[in-house]
């Protein structure tokens, strides 16, 4: 049995290997003909004239992500502190659940919301600044919202895991709860909070649908470079937009694959960074290396000598000066988008001075009042986060429910999608989910069993774990590209349901593996011993005792990841999904299918005058995805209550 399980678990390595081989080989022409340096630093991206310089796209990706994280940090960290330190402990689980719902909303629904609500709203506010309705700002706001659940949940875990003894020690000395939070708890959790931010960046950078729908996908540099009202492009957006247009084998096709490799490297670096930081955090809660100013660490300034002493003596002032300088520059940049440079300078000086004064006053006031102000601010942040969520879901449901009737649910789209129904898309999504489950469940659960019950600390095990981590971090659009190169072209499945199954299955496999492994390791060892002591074989023990005991966790993870598969657009848009066809229902698994998320994307971006259909489709998609989320939550709560170790 062990051999079989080892073989199944090794599939993860095989998948990673295939992804690397086929994206690399597909990008070979571009590496040769364009050249890596010209590709990375070339400023012109124009497939029609054969120019493939991706600098604007790569920079655009970074800028949009930067904006997103600037939006997500205050909201995310604030909400995390609120949930862990301010909220009633009883409310903690509920609030965390609410934040998880954010993560459950499909990317394409965010994009749809951005297109319909955010863009017009921004245009109303910044009518003089926005030339086009799409903008970098819109992309960043949307991505920021999407990164929120990652930031909140990781940061909250980090803050919550700071030992209670630190809180007690601080409070016992007469510090207020707020002073304790800001001076002891947050510094102690700073590595975890940093990891949360980095993971949030990783989430934002790999996101496709939402960002491509609101940024305009123009391969230009913003002018000036901080012009957040400019059109912009991201790697994911360009991939989603241009891959269907490129013909196989030409330089354009191959350049797009090279672009995907750049994206993968970026994500890889981000994930590595977060792993190192999390490892450091774990070490820190054991024994922390002495804290020194960052300057000493990188050897910029000698730690001995008068200058070094001067630096460490005035560490606080230097940091503060640096922060205020950054703020001055930032405010000037933003203000200069609205007025002349000189006025902007005055504005920025005034704003910085006001902030400085407010901070000075804040330092003086009574610490109890300070706590009230701070906790009030955190509460406001939490409320804003929840309101955003309620608004997104509520807005779509309010407009969508009226569009839904029997004909809409069962009918075939007519008039280019403006009339009729979405029956084939619903059926297609269900078919995709069924096939995905069929492939990913055995692979995922068996691998999870292998890792939890059989795996020794061998090289193979390590390699499998690395492969799973890699798969988990791979942006969904890269799965789509891989599917296109491998299943559609090499295996010659064509754009088909079965290609979609495999791509989605590979995409959600890491989550199923991880939750299965976690659930199995949580089963107490006594149970294993009890069963084996009666002469049951190891495999029999697993099947009859361990797996049933871990069923709650396994099912929760499986349903959640299937829900995610149901909402994904990017991976299936090249390999399985079509907008509408003469035969909307697939006859065989080698036919292409319609799918709800892709249908929504298609209607929202290609079909003018299909508003009611769009809202209806978004509503049905939301109901399916959030319904699965609810089922998973109910199962989890049920098992949590029933099984207590």
């Amino acid at each position: 049995m062990k051999t079989v399980l080892t073989a199944v678990a090794s599939v993860a390595i095989l998948i990673v290997f295939l992804i690397i081989v086929f994206t690399l080989s597909s990008s070979w022409d571009a590496i040769g003909d364009v050249g890596i340096l010209d590709f990375l630093f070339g400023t012109q991206w124009s497939p029609s004239s054969g120019a493939y310089g991706a600098a604007a796209i790569i920079l655009g990706t970074l800028l949009v992500t930067l904006g997103a994280i600037a939006f997500a940090i205050p909201l995310g960290i604030g909400a995390a502190i609120y949930i862990s330190e301010v909220a009633n402990p009883k409310a903690r689980n509920t609030l965390k659940l609410v934040c998880e719902i954010f993560a459950g909303i499909p990317s394409v629904v965010y994009g749809f919301f951005g297109l319909l609500v955010l863009l017009p709203l921004l245009q109303d506010i910044f009518q003089d600044q926005l030339v086009y309705s799409q903008s970098w700002l819109a992309g960043s706001i949307l991505l920021g919202i999407m990164a929120l659940p990652t930031v909140i949940s990781v940061a909250e875990d980090a803050i919550h895991s700071v030992p209670q003894s630190y809180r007690e020690a601080s409070l016992a000395m007469g510090a207020t709860r707020w002073e304790t939070t800001i001076k002891v708890i947050v510094p102690a959790a700073i590595s975890g909070i940093t990891a949360a931010i980095i993971l949030g960046i990783g989430r934002a950078i790999g996101e496709t649908m939402a960002v491509m729908m609101v940024t305009g996908n123009a391969t230009i540099f913003p002018d000036p470079i901080w012009n957040i009202f400019s059109l912009i492009s991201t790697i994911t957006g360009i991939l989603a937009l241009e891959v269907p247009e490129a013909s196989v084998g030409d330089l354009h096709y191959s350049s797009l694959f090279l672009l995907a490799i750049v994206l993968m490297v970026m994500v890889l670096v981000i994930n590595l960074a977060s792993r190192i930081i999390i490892k450091r955090m774990k070490r820190k809660l054991g024994v922390e290396p002495p804290r020194q100013a960052i300057f000493f660490k990188i050897g910029l300034i000698p730690s001995q000598g008068s200058f070094g002493d001067w630096i460490s003596e005035h560490k606080g002032i230097i940091t503060a000066a640096f922060v205020y300088l950054c703020m001055l520059v930032f405010v000037w940049m933003m203000a200069s988008l609205f007025t002349g440079d000189l006025t902007a300078l005055i504005v920025s000086v005034v704003v910085t001075a006001v902030v400085f004064a407010v901070q000075k006053v804040f330092e003086k006031i009574d610490s109890t009042v300070k706590q009230q102000v701070a906790h009030g601010g955190l509460t406001v942040i939490m409320v804003v986060v929840i309101l955003i969520l309620i608004f997104i879901i509520g807005y779509i449901l309010m407009n969508g429910l009226s569009a839904i009737d029997w004909e809409f649910l069962t009918g075939v789209p007519t008039n280019g999608g403006r009339d009729g129904g979405i029956g084939p898309a619903i059926v297609g999504t269900l078919e995709l989910m069924a096939g995905t489950a069929l492939i990913s469940l055995p692979l995922g659960i068996f691998t999870g069993v292998y890792l939890a019950e059989y795996a020794k600390d061998t090289k193979l095990t390590k390699l499998i774990r690395e492969a799973i981590d890699l798969l988990n971090g791979t942006p969904s659009i890269v799965f789509g590209l891989f599917g296109l190169a491998f299943f559609v072209r090499v295996l010659d499945f064509g754009v088909s349901m079965v290609a979609g199954w495999f791509v989605l299955a590979f995409m959600i496999m890491p989550v199923i593996i991880r939750t299965t492994e976690e659930a199995l390791t949580a089963v107490p060892h006594d149970l294993r011993e009890a069963s084996m002591a009666m002469g049951a074989s190891k495999w029999r023990t697993i099947v009859r005792v361990i797996l049933p005991a871990a069923m709650g966790g396994v099912m929760t993870g499986t349903i959640l990841s299937l829900g995610r598969a149901a909402g994904e657009t990017a991976p299936i848009m090249f390999v399985a999904a079509v907008s509408s066809s003469t035969a909307p229902y697939a006859d065989s698994i080698f036919d292409s299918v319609m799918a709800l998320p892709f249908h929504l994307y298609y209607l929202a971006t290609h079909v003018v005058g299909s508003d009611a259909m769009q809202y209806g489709t978004a509503t049905v998609l939301l109901v399916i995805v959030l319904g699965m989320f609810a089922i998973a939550t109910i199962i989890r709560n049920h098992y949590n209550k029933k099984v207590k170790w």
């Binding site: 402990p89 009883k90 030992p163 003894s165 630190y166 809180r167 007690e168 020690a169 601080s170 409070l171 016992a172 000395m173 007469g174 510090a175 207020t176 002073e179 001076k183 002891v184 510094p187 102690a188 820190k284 809660l285 054991g286 024994v287 922390e288 290396p289 002495p290 804290r291 610490s367 109890t368």
Partner: protein, 301 residues
């Protein structure tokens, strides 16, 4: 005081406070020692002039949710002396100690009745400023819990919170507190390294130094040596004896010998009730209650 378990049957000659709790109604305890308690309502057997009482705890009842953890506990904590609380696990000694600087406020569903007088003021008065209260009544915890900062930052944390900014003054505080905690010589050359690099015993002394940094009047110690080895333990005990010259110390210990070594007064608690409180020497040589004697001779607990 309807939850009281002790019936006053004899009037104590030595204790002026016990008159105040003359009437306590019996309820229906399930324990086999009920009879003895009911026959001996008195449990304060030490004479402390009321001027010398730093904290006067009177008739404290405490509940965690539905569960009552303390029953009508009295405890006079004498100024510039060490008061020890002993008793088997779960007897409520830590709960009592933690309620003195209101750390129990952090526990969800904790409710308390009764009086704790500190400078004539009830600590549980609604308009007591809890933060300044905790500044005046410091606490040392079971496990050493230095902050993950440098040694210096650990000690300057409290003073900075309370508004001291002057570098020189802070440095003086660091030195004074470390001296008082008998740690200065060991760490003088590495004040700016992480406090987590210290040994367990050093960490606990650092925590004591940290508690001293805000000039408390009373120091509560919650089993401060239970995580330490014998040598580190004896250092902390010596330190406690030094500290009582300037501070009032109340210590919870699971170790009877520790109480007999350092405490001036000892209270024995059982199942949330104060069984006997008297001078340490008296209690260990000739305990008044039979139950105290059984505990001290190791026949239960």
């Amino acid at each position: 005081m309807k939850f009281g378990l002790f019936n006053k049957t004899e009037k104590p000659s030595s204790d002026p406070q016990s008159e105040e709790k003359a009437v306590q109604s019996p309820s229906a305890p399930r324990d086999k020692n009920t009879e003895e308690w009911e026959n001996n309502g008195q449990f304060i057997f030490a004479e402390i002039p009321s001027d010398d009482i730093a904290i006067d705890i009177k008739g404290i009842n405490l509940w965690y949710g539905e569960k009552q953890a303390l029953y009508d506990v009295d405890l006079p904590v004498r100024r510039n002396a060490i008061t020890a609380l002993i008793g088997p696990s779960g007897c409520g000694k830590s709960t009592l100690l933690r309620s003195i600087n209101r750390m129990n406020d952090l526990v969800d569903g904790c409710r308390i009745e009764g009086e704790m007088l500190f400078h004539g003021e009830n600590l549980y008065d609604p308009d007591v400023d809890i933060n300044s209260l905790r500044t005046r009544i410091g606490m040392i915890f079971q496990k050493p819990n230095p902050f993950p900062m440098t040694i210096r930052e650990n000690i300057t944390y409290g003073p900075k919170i309370h508004g001291i900014k002057d570098k020189k003054e802070l440095n003086e505080i660091v030195e004074r507190c470390l001296q008082q905690a008998a740690l200065y010589d060991e760490v003088a050359d590495r004040l700016d390294t992480s406090a987590l690099g210290l040994s367990g015993g050093q960490q606990q002394r650092l925590c004591i130094a940290r508690a001293l940094s805000v000039n408390p009047e009373v120091i509560l110690m919650d089993e401060p040596t239970s995580a330490l080895d014998p040598i580190a333990t004896s250092k902390i005990e010596d330190l406690a004896l030094q500290l009582k010259k300037e501070y009032t110390v109340a210590i919870v210990t699971h170790n009877m010998q520790q109480a007999s070594r350092i405490a001036d007064y000892t209270g024995f608690m059982y199942l949330g009730k104060m069984i006997e409180f008297s001078e340490t020497g008296k209690m260990f040589n000739k305990p008044i209650k039979a139950m105290t004697e059984r505990y001290l001779t190791g026949r239960f607990g």
